[in-house]
Amino acid sequence: MTKQIFRIAPGFEEIMPEEYRELVTDGPYDRSVGVADLGTFKELLEEHPLCAGCGLALSLRLFLASLPAPADTVVVGSTGCSAIAFPQVGLHNIHGLFGNQNAIASGLKRALKLRFPDRPKDVVVVAGDGATADIGLEMVMHSWFRAENIATVMLDNEAYANTGGQESGMSPRGAVLNMAPTGKKFEKVAMPEIARESGCAYVAVTSPANARRFEKAIRRAILVARDVGPTYVQVFCPCPTNFKFRPDETLGVIRKREKEGVFQYREYITPEAQQYLAASEGEKR
């Protein structure tokens, strides 16, 4: 068994792009890093295909820096903007199909539990709002009902961004988007509440506007999923391209929504998860 990242074949170092070399030599793989270390290592290739100012890209960077055990983590993704970024990281990742990410993760996690009963192997779902709240909702909810030990992270950019800005279940009511030409007719799907009622032991709503809170939510979600039960983190990461604001305004948009009370950071923790976190976070101190 090796925990080494891919090595570049000898003789090819010079022709590989510099940022790829950095990913191999300076990636966060098998290192203990946090969001405070961002900028000192390579977590995502700069030449990823996401748009300038993309809130999802920023969230992915923070996510990659927040993993408690990247070398023992597999990210199960789905079709969408995040899927086109995941090949740009030095991390185990699977692209299933559109919406079935929690189904794939369920089978994978159970297989890993059987093969490695004494070693934590984190299975983390990272998917967009279309995959999580619309096409994949059945599979997301049933993974929670079955109490699968997986963490589900929804990157909520409030639209089907990768396919050109269509309305999703997470788009705000009234938003005029492709396929909602006169404005969306219903509210955002109440995913945090659905998650809580469906059996998630830890639920958080966060955003990349506060890196520390983001990191805490991701780490808690993964650790609770490892030992207690399913978890859910909803990341508000607006899309400048389809909501037509300037790329440098992304964090400002989040803060404005927070000020208006439309987006609110919050956490729900079951007593069992609370007890577990108190013990594990206490140990860390």
Binding site: T2, G90, I94, G107, R110, A111
Partner: protein
């Protein structure tokens, strides 16, 4: 629970020295095969006429033969769940059929593309509106080009043999793609026949994920990137080349399975009286009906041979071309409307006007052997 011993060689399970005969249904034959297959996980979703097979596999779980078993939330979900389990490096089984097959359809080419050695039983049934639960093999036509290996069982004995042996074919390093074991719903699943099974106290050697050409997603090696940069939505030559070469690799893996189909199934097809002027070529329960028709034909002095096609992907192209060389007529009876098997055969034989794509029954109807006999009688002038 019977204490099971792991076989040292697969032949101990496939060609055991101790055998017993059971009068069982096709669904029960699946249970017998899975009991000896040493699977780690099975995932189920109800769909008629498949459900009983997965009920019985669930019983095996309750008895302790299978470490994990659960009911998924839909066929699409189940096919994702078994994919996840296979990627995690375990031997996994499921079954579906008819509308369930179509609901899960997007996953089958993905299984092949992911090089997952999943074994799935497909118990075929009608899929069109108005609603039908009756036997029909039309879904096989849709699955022919998904990249999975397709075996077609004639009866419960085949179903037992093919299901058990499918694991060995699927898991070869140079193959390592899914195998679908097809059987005609109700005709096979719900009827009894004498089935010879091996001893229940011996099971297949465990699946070794390190033999996979695509490393397991178990984080025991360096990160595996299922998709790399060129694969993703890029419009450039490298992207096209990456996609194209991978698809070719899947097709090549299917081709490489031929030698294992020969090894474990004794060939892609079986023949009787292959020198006859008229040949019936059939798959599934249409073979059984053809056997009856051949008896009737012989009583009338008509000499007919039988070609039972066991493996549809890879397709026995060369074998059929060879057999068809001297036949005056080839009759292809089918349990579906579209005649997909006749279409396949017509696509490979020279002078395909000799291929009679009939009789066909569908909508759940049975195929009286007299219908096949009528086609044989109609072919007699061509043989003179």
């Amino acid at each position: 629970m019977i204490e099971q011993r792991v076989a040292l060689m697969v032949d101990e399970v496939f060609q055991p020295t101790r055998c017993e005969s059971r009068f069982i249904t096709g669904s029960e034959a699946v249970k017998e095969a899975i009991q000896r297959s040493n699977i780690t996980m099975a995932i189920a979703y109800p769909i008629t006429p498949q459900s009983e097979s997965m009920h019985l596999v669930g019983d095996l779980y309750a008895e302790g033969y299978i470490p994990d078993y659960f009911r998924g939330e839909s066929e699409f979900a189940v096919m994702g769940q078994v994919a996840g389990a296979a990627m995690g490096g375990v031997r996994v089984f499921t079954a579906t059929g008819g509308p369930g097959t179509l609901r899960a359809f997007e996953m089958f080419p993905c299984w092949a593309g992911m090089r997952l050695p999943i074994v799935c039983c497909f118990f075929t049934r009608g899929v069109n509106s108005p609603l039908s639960i009756q036997p029909d093999t039309i879904e096989m036509a849709f699955l022919l080009d998904t990249g999975i290996i397709m075996l077609h069982a004639e009866g419960a004995q085949d179903l037992y043999d093919f299901t058990l042996r499918a694991f060995a074919i699927a898991e070869q390093t140079d193959v390592h793609i899914p195998v679908g074991v097809f059987a005609d719903g109700f005709f096979v699943t719900h009827t009894r026949e004498m089935v010879t099974v091996g001893p229940p106290d011996v099971k297949l050697p465990p699946y070794d994920p390190h033999r996979s050409p695509v490393p397991a997603m178990d984080m025991e090696g360096v990160p595996v990137r299922h998709m790399r940069d060129p694969f993703v939505m890029k419009s450039n030559f490298i992207s096209y080349a990456a996609h194209a070469s991978w698809q070719q690799e899947i097709l090549a893996a299917v081709e490489r399975s031929r030698k294992y189909v020969h090894e474990y199934l004794g060939g892609l097809l079986e023949t009787e009286n292959e020198e006859a002027d008229i040949l019936i070529m059939a798959a599934g329960t249409a073979v059984s009906q053809s056997r009856e028709a051949i008896q009737l034909a012989r009583a009338q002095g008509i000499d007919v041979g039988l070609v039972k096609i066991k493996c549809l992907r890879p397709f026995p192209t060369e074998e059929i071309q060879h057999l068809a060389r001297r036949a005056r007529a080839i009759v292809v009876p089918e349990f579906n409307r579209v005649g997909w098997l006749a279409r396949e055969i017509k696509s490979v034989v020279e002078d395909n006007s000799r291929v009679v794509g009939a009789p066909r029954v569908f909508g759940g109807m049975t195929m009286p052997s007299e219908m096949i006999l009528a086609q044989l009688q109609a072919c007699v002038p061509a043989t003179r």
